[in-house]
């Protein structure tokens, strides 16, 4: 690539600090991006990646101040640019795609208007010319009915589609630089792959440089030519992707790479007579409320699903977004009312009137998909974790306090955390609290719904480690819901693949990963590459299926 040409963007010794405390959140950061180049930024949560990227656009939040340093884009210092010049640069020369496709498009504005806005502002084109450009772009990003899309609202599209439209709106202006901050975090593997491919295609076509921020090392490794590693405001290492991945220098980089999930050995599970949970022909319908004049057609989220979970076993459920994973978990936890089928717990049906119900209620616990929203923001950690013990019959107060302390220690949050509130914790810490709360009653069965999706790699590794540890120690069974295949590969004994409310394939972990039979499973596995250790601290990219490897060869 064009290494010796003058850089498009150069960030020079940039230091940003928080006004009130003076804490330096971006510290002496320097890097540069050449035209057409694709650069990735990785690093722990809160290391200043987003702030650095936003500074390039001139979007420093009011609470943050620049201490020193310069950002030069096409030779001009962004920091001292006149507001008008800055506005002319934004959109036209530098585009930006955010993490959240759901909230980055204006919900009350037509897609057509939102796409047209930037063009009308920055290009001297007639309305008809602009429309032609937009329609062409919509076709390129794979929208089936471009004309119709113009007069649709964002909420009428799926998350993946919305992210494509975001990309389209930015790429329409053919910017010289695209800033992409975690552009695919909220998407499932298949969709993630499609969006990224699209991004690469579009930027290649226009020779647009890309600065991409992500937690997904595999993705960065797959698409970026250079990688910048940040930790606590500092750039600790940067270099060509192959070199950096193969021979990481800085301890933090090594730690990052070492945190890649790895497939563990097959576990031997004791055979039991009755499965702890057994689900037969479960159907769940949403909606279908009856009005005075209408009978709303219910939407079927599960079509006769049957699974068994043996004591001590970890069963992973994978599948695309909306395939019914959370619904299945919710039904087992008693949160969603099934419209057909049967759920047995320890061989007995769940029914509020039964005496067995209490045994089920105490022994079946759940870790929710979003740890932040599943913790009452107005309760302290101590209260949160202690709450399930309230209902344990005959447990003394002192014993409860001891148990809470014990569990907090187990999840590594012993001292000083009991009196804090959820918003005072990091994402990883919150996730651990959610897990602590689920296991404090020593249940025999835990449903874990995407327990690690919101976490950065190192924290994710910690949480998974903890989870495995607890599982070993207390021997509970687990239904582990995730769309992150790497994670599943690490924790699962058995894997269930769901697609559109049905189980399409089921088998032991190794069988599924090594020898998938169903088309959808294959598609899932080939969507994103994995990273595997090279033994000497480095990692290399690998494709789980050969058709994926073909993709890789194309670059």
């Amino acid at each position: 690539m064009a290494e010796n040409s003058t850089p498009l963007l150069s960030v020079d010794k940039l230091t940003l600090a928080i006004n009130s405390t003076g804490k330096r959140v971006v510290n002496d950061v320097s890097f540069s991006v050449s035209p057409g180049e694709m650069v990735g930024i990785v690093g722990e949560s809160g290391s200043g990646k987003t702030l650095a990227a936003r500074a390039i656009m001139g979007f420093i939040p009011p609470a943050v101040r620049r201490i020193s340093g310069a950002i030069r884009f096409e030779g001009h210092d962004v920091m001292t640019m006149a507001p008008k010049a800055l506005r002319e640069m934004r959109g036209a020369r530098v585009g930006m795609v955010f993490q959240e496709p759901m909230t980055s498009l204006n919900p009350s504005m037509l897609i057509g208007q939102q796409l047209d806005e930037g063009l009308a502002l920055h290009r001297r084109l007639s309305a008809a010319e602009r429309k032609a450009l937009i329609l062409d772009m919509l076709r390129r990003i794979g929208i089936r009915d471009p004309e119709g899309a113009l007069t649709s609202y964002p909420h009428q599209f799926s998350g993946g589609m919305r992210q494509r439209i975001m990309l389209a709106s930015v790429m329409l202006l053919k910017p010289a630089l695209l800033l992409a901050d975690e552009p695919t975090t909220a998407l499932d593997a298949v969709v993630q792959r499609e969006v990224l491919e699209l991004m690469v295609d579009l930027t290649k076509a226009n020779n647009t440089a890309v600065l991409m921020i992500s937690h997904d090392l595999g993705m960065i490794a797959r698409y970026c030519s250079r990688i910048i590693v940040m930790q606590q405001g500092d750039v600790v290492e940067q270099g060509l992707a192959q070199d950096l991945l193969a021979r990481p220098q800085h301890p933090y980089t090594r730690k990052l790479l070492a945190a890649m999930p790895l497939r563990g050995p097959v576990r031997d599970l004791p055979k039991a007579d009755t499965p702890i949970v057994s689900v037969r022909d479960l159907t769940v319908d949403y909606g279908g409320r009856q009005g005075f004049f209408r009978k709303e057609a219910p939407k079927r989220a599960l079509h006769g699903v049957s699974i068994d979970v043996q004591p001590g076993e970890v069963v992973a459920v994978v599948g695309g977004s909306g395939s019914g994973k959370t619904t299945l978990g919710g039904a087992i936890a008693g949160l969603v009312k099934p419209s057909g089928g049967e759920i047995r717990f320890n061989g007995k049906p769940i029914d509020r009137s039964e005496t067995a119900y209490w045994d089920y209620r105490l022994n079946c616990q759940m870790v929710f998909q979003d740890p932040y929203s599943s913790l009452d923001p107005r309760m302290t950690i101590g209260d949160l974790v202690g709450e399930p013990l309230r209902l344990v019959p005959g447990m003394a107060r002192a014993e409860k306090a001891r148990r809470v302390q014990e569990v907090l220690t187990e999840v590594g949050l012993a001292e000083g955390f009991a009196s804090r509130y959820p918003h005072e914790l990091s994402g990883g810490q919150r996730q651990r609290i959610a897990i602590a709360r689920a296991v404090v009653r020593r249940p025999s069965f835990v449903i874990a719904d995407e327990p690690v999706s919101a976490l950065d790699v190192t924290v994710r590794a910690q949480v998974l480690e903890l989870f495995a540890e607890l599982q070993r120690k207390h021997g509970f069974s687990c239904l582990f819901i995730s769309h992150d295949l790497g994670v599943v590969e690490q924790v699962a004994d058995r894997v269930i693949v769901m697609h559109e409310g049905r189980i399409v394939e089921e088998g032991s972990r190794d069988a599924i990963f090594d020898n998938p039979r169903h088309d959808y499973t294959r598609k899932l596995l080939s969507a994103v590459p994995g990273l595997e250790s090279t033994g000497d601290g480095g990692v290399r990219l690998f494709w789980r299926l050969s058709d994926g490897a073909g993709e890789a060869a194309r670059t």
Partner: protein, 271 residues
Amino acid sequence: MKRLAPNALLGGFLIGTLIVVALIGAVWTPYDPLQLSFRAKLAAPSAAHWLGTDEFGRDVGSRLMAGAATSAWISLLTVTLAVVFGTAIGVVSGYVRGWFDRIVMAFNDALLAFPGILLALGLLAVLGANKYGIIAALGIAYTPSVARIVRGAVLSLREREFIAASRVMGNSELFTMARHILPNCIAPLTVLATSMFGYVLLAESALSFLGLGVPPPAPTWGNMLAGSRPYIGQAVWLGIFPGLCISLTLLGINLLGDAVRDRLDPRMRGM
């Protein structure tokens, strides 16, 4: 902790002053607020009477001080009443949904459609025309709007995962409502309660205008303001001073309410 915004400081200052004045006014005023003085009727502000005197020769300043406590007390109790009942209704109705919700909301909407004056008349007739009658009347008149707003908040709260988590733990519905739903309604309630404070001050005044207020001669800002109206041409100060008191209190309370809301918002606190 975050530095206090100037708005919050101003709000705090205004409300602090109100509290101090009300406390002093409860035990001491320059003149007896009820003492008629036929020689000094409608006297303009002067050294002897800083804020002038009213149509019975009573010292306006003293009446404002004495009225501060009454007005504050009426508003406080009214708001408390409306908030307690409205919240209880809103929480249960929004959480339980179904038929219960429909029936409760039918009653609630019916009450919403009732003009306050009719309610006030009815309740004052039943409870007697005194401070507590007013409090009950206004309290009941404001309850349905609180219930509506709280119910709205609860409807979205109950979809949050920590409510599902509470169920999975095996908590009873009642416990879930009390421990998880209720405390999370506090932020919208704070804002609501602070704006209601102002409405009540004014509503009391409007009731006085229609001849239904707190039985004068005991002064409240509302009845002073209402009573001043016929004298607008001859003695403007009769209206201006209580009006100013109400305005400043409202301003203070609203600013403070905004600040409290921001304080209670974890997104704002975390920064």
